[in-house]
């Protein structure tokens, strides 16, 4: 097939419009770069294209449940248990149209549309610390991060000020404070557990409200307003109450007049010029017409998400890079990480029966990492975990004994049930070389591109950590005076945390890593990769804030090192 060459040479191309791509688009266009922003999926305009944002359960014939025919098209996307229903299924891919392969089960949850997963993300927003940036060096897993906290701290400040993060300052070295908007509040039972933990433990553990990318307080954000406590975030928010590319970074990029946004554009490879030792552009397949187009630019930002950006690099083969662009180390596709979670405890609480709350707070509690903060703890696992969770008043299941049917049942089921509380650990997964993704050249998708195969698993360190997650959760709830405390371990499979990371890791040495400390491909410096694939280790914190900060930092580096065509 003959390629159509777009004659214009852009200053920059950004591949992807999610959390990272939105930031790259905003930063590069604001610095005056004429930027082509490519998105493989359809267009989604803020508010206009959130069809379910105001739906109530009774607006759907079956309260939002899908038919077997509909479910059959999203079998893998359904593995989360909460995303595939009438309210949000349209944000997740059709598994039959977009297949992948599993040597070992891997839950690859994704949406192909402008805004990507920034529309459906969990919005928990935490900084990494030097405990995380030095971890690999200390214990020898993976390679050393080429950066430290001081390198990223000002960029955390910068992105937090723009996106809006509500949270409580705690002064913890393992979880640095940020530029916070007023914190959300703990409810009665969460506040009770907080004081019981403070009374019963002297190892530094404490309970706080989650740090979350929602607007609270009086600060003004362009085109956005405060969180309304509807907890319908996953549908897209008409208030712009939480941060998404669609509500925040893409409108900022649009405003500069420097952005050309092209949806339905599947990037198949980065084009490399061996003489110049630079990338010259990207090859795009139009998702609808299947036409191939080559776009040229001086700088390329891959922000397509961990697995997709890694696939694009793997597909970018040339005489110089037989195993994929920038893959001299052989590490491309390896060191795949996710957080392991769904281990913890839940319980009931007798008391506060006369208390309730107003609003559906789209946030829970956070209990920052308290394990292995010092070198001498002698635990049977390394690294650590934090807890997320919360308390709420349950529903009718609580009322079974007193009122099985009739008038009593009708009265019981419209009242708030008893209080329940859950603590769920989110733990660090180590960067294992053998946890990997690769391309299957025999199984192609409908655009003729190879499909991704996963082979990754949790190992001994994660499994031992989970035992502690459960034991400590049970212990805290018991000491908090809760009843029916039940520990649980529902490990699922890697991917379910929807925090894929590490397959094009940063490092100091080109022999053992794909990217340098500025997110540049070691040997192709005009290609930056700033989604989760750069993560050298995982930490136990939700990672999106780090992608945003590193993207802004990389864009600043690119602006200083690559000329605009009109400059």
């Amino acid at each position: 097939m003959s390629n159509f060459y777009e004659s214009e040479i852009y200053d920059a191309i950004v591949v992807g419009t999610g959390i990272s791509g939105g930031w790259a688009a905003k930063e590069l266009t604001e610095k005056g770069f004429k930027t082509l922003v490519l998105e493989r999926g359809r267009m989604v305009k803020h508010i206009e294209d959130y069809p379910t944002m105001n739906d109530d359960p009774w607006d759907y014939k079956f309260k939002g449940q899908l038919t077997p025919e509909e479910r059959a098209r999203q079998k893998k996307q359904s593995r989360t248990g909460y995303t595939i229903n009438k309210a949000s299924a349209h944000w997740f891919v059709d598994d039959i149209k977009h297949p992948y392969n599993e040597e070992k089960r891997f839950d690859w949850m994704r949406g192909y549309h402008v805004g990507g997963r920034s529309l459906m993300w969990g919005r928990q927003t935490y900084r990494l610390s030097d405990l995380d940036f030095t971890a690999n060096k200390k214990d020898g897993y993976g390679v050393d991060w080429p950066i430290r906290y001081k390198d990223i701290a000002p960029w955390y400040d910068y992105v937090e000020s723009f996106i809006g993060v509500s949270g409580e300052k705690l002064g913890l070295s393992q979880l640095p404070d940020g530029k916070f908007l007023p914190q959300m509040q703990l409810n009665c039972v969460e506040d009770h557990l907080k004081s019981k933990i403070a009374e019963n433990f002297d190892d530094g553990r404490l309970l706080t409200i989650g740090r979350v990318a929602h607007i609270t307080g009086n600060k003004e954000f362009e085109g956005r307003s405060n969180c309304q406590y509807r907890n319908r975030c996953i549908r897209g928010c008409p208030y712009g109450g939480y941060f998404s590319s669609n509500s925040s970074t893409l409108p900022a990029a649009e405003k500069t007049g420097n952005m050309t946004l092209r949806p339905n554009s599947i990037v198949s490879e980065v084009v490399y010029d061996a003489d110049k030792k630079r990338a010259t552009g990207v090859k795009v397949i139009d998702a609808e017409t299947k036409e191939e187009i080559v776009y040229k630019a001086n700088v390329i930002f891959l922000c397509a998400s961990t697995v997709a950006s890694t696939s694009i690099l793997m597909q970018s083969k040339s005489d110089r890079f037989e195993n994929g662009l920038g893959n001299d180390s052989g590490e491309l596709g390896h060191n795949l990480m996710d957080h392991h979670f769904r281990a913890g405890a839940s319980a009931k609480y007798d008391g506060f029966e006369d208390k309730y709350y107003k609003g559906r707070r789209p946030n829970g509690i956070y209990l920052p990492r308290f394990r292995n903060l010092k070198n001498n703890e002698n635990r049977d696992f390394i690294r650590g975990y934090g807890y997320q969770g919360g308390a709420g008043r349950g529903n009718w299941t609580e009322a079974i004994a007193e009122a099985s049917y009739g008038k009593e049942l009708k009265e019981a089921i419209v009242k708030p049930g008893g209080w329940t509380m859950g603590l769920m650990g989110f733990g660090e997964t180590l960067p294992y070389h053998e946890n990997k993704m690769y391309l299957d050249q025999d199984k192609k998708d409908e655009w003729g591109l190879p499909t991704v195969t996963f082979n990754a698993e949790f190992k001994e360190n994660e499994l031992k950590m989970r035992k502690d997650m459960i034991e400590q959760a049970v212990d805290m709830l018991e000491k908090g005076g809760f009843r029916d405390v039940q520990g649980y371990d529902n490990i699922g499979a890697p991917g379910l945390g929807i925090h894929e990371m590490g397959t094009a890791r940063m490092g100091r040495d080109p022999k053992t890593s794909v990217l340098n400390g500025n997110n540049q491909v070691h040997t192709v410096p005009n290609v930056y990769v700033t989604d989760g694939s750069f993560m050298t280790s995982a930490g136990c914190q939700n990672p999106s804030l780090t992608y945003m900060a590193m993207t802004a930092r990389a864009a600043d580096h690119a602006a200083k090192n690559f000329k605009k065509s009109n400059a």
Binding site: K358, K410, V414
Partner: protein, 214 residues
């Protein structure tokens, strides 16, 4: 009374108009006819009649609408038809048939001939059983059926099947009831745009003692 309280009361008032006494009488007068003439899409006609009778016991009309007003039998029937897996369809049908046999054992007549009083009695027999009694009933089925080698020719135990059926119908009915527009907007605390979070307030002040419907 503050503005918010006034608005909430207005909301409840508007709901009450919809189910005013005239409407209720109308619904009652044609109820028994409707139950006999209803043609379910999934269940057999007699199991459909029984389902309506069971739902009248579980969610009767009181000062708030009941199962019949909210078309809950129709909802469950089409839910089984259009949404659930083949396995669950089959189980639901088999347990509905088991209930039918249990009804005959109990009253020596077909379920389609049953009276409201008889349905009240048989629903109570199973749903008001003590946990120990329920355990005994469930056990009866596992003794006659090998779950590894489920012979489609063997009918499930009427008591075990009835208990399973009534528990499932009850769960579905509560779900359908609470997520119906009438109950969700006018009986429970409907607050689609809270606008704020009050973390720990008096249950009576906040929702008038009602749970949030969303």
């Amino acid at each position: 009374m503050n503005r918010r309280q006034a608005l909430r009361n207005l909301g409840l008032g508007a709901g009450a108009i919809i189910i005013g006494p005239t409407t209720l009488n109308l619904l009652q007068s044609c109820k028994s006819d409707a139950q006999h003439t209803w043609k379910p899409v999934f269940l057999s006609a007699s199991n459909g009649f029984a389902l309506k009778q069971i739902l009248e016991v579980i969610l009767p009309k009181t000062d708030t609408p009941g199962a019949e007003d909210l078309n809950i039998a129709e909802f469950i029937d089409s839910y089984m038809n259009e949404i659930v897996s083949e396995d669950r369809k089959q189980n639901f049908n088999e347990s509905a048939n088991a209930f039918s046999r249990a009804f005959k054992n109990e009253f020596n007549k077909e379920e389609a001939e049953g009276t409201a009083e008889e349905y009240e009695q048989i629903v109570g027999k199973y749903l008001k059983a003590t946990p120990a009694e329920k355990e005994k009933i469930v056990k009866r089925n596992t003794e006659t059926q090998d779950p590894q080698d489920k012979d489609p020719g063997i009918e499930i135990d009427p008591d075990a099947g009835s208990l399973a059926y009534l528990q499932e119908v009850r769960g579905l009915a509560i779900w359908a009831y609470k997520t119906s527009e009438e109950i969700g907007e006018n009986v429970m605390w409907y607050d689609p745009i809270p606008g704020e979070y009050i973390p720990c307030g008096s249950i009576d002040d906040l929702g008038g003692g009602k749970a949030m419907s969303l």
